[in-house]
């Protein structure tokens, strides 16, 4: 069954995040477009957290280790009423709380991230605390694939497996590109699935833009008792905008007026298609 609501949101989020990137004249466009469907599914179908329960010790936690894709997070949080969307007009601006990486100044954000290789250790700590307190909450961490070159991730994965943290779900946004180029040309990650399994994760592969598949998979956590759940979400950097897809130039590229118009046209066309 097609989740029409989320497919619509998936395009609407793209329209919005491009709008605020264009307005700010800055942002991490490609990576936000690759992970926004994952956030869509998490916040709309999986996570047990709302603005009202954000300070509740029993809430599910989402930690975005790939902090640079903050635009995707901002638009999803705004959609959930964590703050008024208009506030994103200040994104990147002088004295704005909407900085280029997530901070706790923004309601809905659990932890300041941006330096890579930090989110998973923090998540392991939160998951461990949940275990100690016999709490039912789950912890979701989104990692970029480029950031997996940071050794700290592997320290944290080892700890997650050692402590059998099946309340932790690690999602890798596997868009295969980083700032300079292909991850495999920088410091190759493959065979990534085998590595993640060898470090003790219960691994699943999914099309990171397939809302239905993502939802079905993340509804079945933990994948196995006593192991952290690890997902490689195969994604396309710049997904949804023809000329941005699979082009590392758009890692933090900002569309000019003509490009912006074309991008919006492509997205509006897709929106009309889904609505019809």
């Amino acid at each position: 069954m097609i989740d029409r609501e989320l497919y619509l949101k998936s395009i609407q989020y793209r329209i919005k995040l491009l709008k605020y990137i264009k307005m700010a004249g800055a942002g991490h466009t490609g990576g936000s477009l690759s992970c926004v469907d994952i956030l869509n599914v998490l916040y709309n179908r999986i996570l047990n957290v709302t603005p009202e329960t954000f300070n509740d010790p029993g809430r599910d936690r989402y930690i975005q280790s790939k902090g640079h894709s903050v635009e995707a997070l901002y638009v999803v949080l705004a959609d959930h009423g964590f703050f008024p969307e208009e506030e994103l007009e200040t994104f990147y601006g002088y004295r704005s709380i909407y900085t280029g990486h997530p901070t706790r100044k923004v309601k809905g954000i659990e932890q300041n991230t941006g330096g890579l290789g930090h989110g998973l250790a923090f998540s392991v700590g939160v998951a461990l605390a949940g275990r100690l307190d016999h709490a039912a909450y789950r912890v979701f961490t989104l990692l970029g694939d480029g950031e997996l070159a940071e050794g700290s991730n592997w320290e944290s994965l080892m700890a997650a497996a050692h402590y059998q943290l099946d309340n932790l779900c690690v999602i890798v946004d596997r868009n295969t590109l980083q700032l300079t180029g292909k991850t495999e040309d920088m410091c190759g990650l493959e065979p990534l699935a085998q590595k993640l399994e060898a470090f003790g994760g219960e691994l699943r592969l999914v099309d990171g833009h397939n809302i239905t598949a993502l939802t079905e998979m993340l509804c079945k956590l933990p994948f196995t008792t006593g192991k952290p759940s690890v997902v490689i979400a195969r994604t396309i950097k710049g997904k949804g905008i023809s000329f941005m897809e699979n082009n590392p130039k758009w890692h933090h590229g900002v569309p000019n007026d003509r490009q912006y118009e074309q991008a919006q046209q492509e997205l509006e066309a897709r929106l009309a298609e889904i609505k019809s």
Binding site: P57, T103, R104, E110, Q111, N112, T113, G114, G115, G117, H118, L120, A121, F122, S123, V124, G125, V126, A127, L128, A129, G130, L132, D133, G151, S152, E155, S156, M158, A159, H162
Partner: protein
């Protein structure tokens, strides 16, 4: 019975840290020690036996240690991240900066075997950079306790703190410097003796050598003030300014590089207060640190009673000649 500072040897600050932490953990289940294969070095073996569920081991992985500690703290745990000061503050520096301080997670970072406590193991194991790097970070309190009382009180105070704190100490038994019952307050230095010729402003395990220097100088007719500056950040600026205003010269003493530590912090305060005074920073200079045990390294760099007395007398003689 009257108390003479330095006359009676106590335990190591490390031991009293471990005892204090165990007492805190027994009172409150939310108190946790997180270690990186450092429970033995941290004297936490009895702790691990007594409250096993309150010790989290992450293996030799300091970055993970600090990140995990931040996560635990975010969920309401009272977390002491215990690791050799050298690795804690260098290997995991970015985790301290981002995950703890910038994210305002009230982790208690415990740097054990700090300074040159590891002696002849060499510079990989020395932490004489830690105060400088952490002073440059927003949102962290830095405490370097001198004796058992300061250590116990600092560890207890940390449990109540709602922002990050770093506490570092060594592992050699320390003489008692304060009478029992002395009120310890974070950010407020403790004066051990008073005088007007020289003010020693010392911290951590160099407070005792400074006391020996003061005693030696008293015998030659000098009057000496000694301040234990246990909190480096926020610094007790009032005590620094008072020392410079009421004494003829100031010598700062620390088990740290002379760059970026207590001495430079005091110098900055005095310069900004327009206070010109003969001033000397005693510490470990910018060179390859000599091989030796902690006391041999102290002696090599003049961080002993006689060495510091020489430094102070030279400074005072400069005034007379000038």
């Amino acid at each position: 019975m009257s108390f003479t500072p330095g006359s009676e040897l106590g335990k190591s600050n490390l031991e009293v840290f471990a005892e204090t932490l165990l007492a805190l953990a027994r009172e409150n289940k939310n108190v946790l020690a997180v270690t990186s294969d450092s429970r033995g070095s941290g004297k936490l073996t009895p702790y691990a036996a007594a409250v096993p569920e309150q010790l989290i081991e992450v293996g030799i992985a300091e970055q993970n240690l600090v990140g995990v500690a931040a996560g635990l703290a975010s969920a309401g745990k009272i977390v002491y991240a215990v690791s050799p000061a050298s690795f804690l503050t260098a290997r995991a520096f970015e985790q301290i900066k981002n995950d703890v301080c910038y994210s305002d997670r009230p982790v208690k970072l415990i740097g054990i075997s700090a300074g040159v406590s590891y002696g002849a193991l060499g510079s990989t194991h020395h932490a004489i950079h830690d105060i400088a790097v952490l002073r440059a970070i927003n949102n962290i309190t830095i405490i370097v306790p001198a004796d058992n009382l300061e250590t116990t009180e600092a560890i207890k105070a940390a449990a109540q703190m709602s922002h990050p704190v770093y506490i570092r100490f060594g592992k050699r038994p320390m003489p008692h410097l304060h009478p029992s019952g002395t009120v310890f307050e974070v950010g407020k230095s403790l004066q051990i003796c008073d005088g007007k010729d020289i003010a020693f402003i010392a911290t951590g395990e160099t407070v005792h050598p400074a006391l020996k220097a003061a005693e030696e100088m008293e015998q030659s007719g000098y009057s000496c003030r000694l301040v234990s500056m246990h909190t480096i950040k926020p610094l007790d600026t009032e005590a620094v300014i008072r020392a410079a205003g009421e004494c003829h010269a100031v010598v700062t003493v620390e088990e740290h590089r002379t760059a970026g530590g207590l001495g430079e912090a005091c110098a900055a305060i005095l310069a900004e207060a327009n206070m010109q005074i003969p001033f000397k920073i005693a510490g470990i200079p910018d060179e390859y640190t000599v091989t030796g045990n902690q006391l041999e390294i102290f002696a090599h760099y003049g961080l002993t009673g006689p060495g510091l007395a020489r430094t102070a007398v030279t400074l005072l003689e400069g005034i007379t000649k000038g």
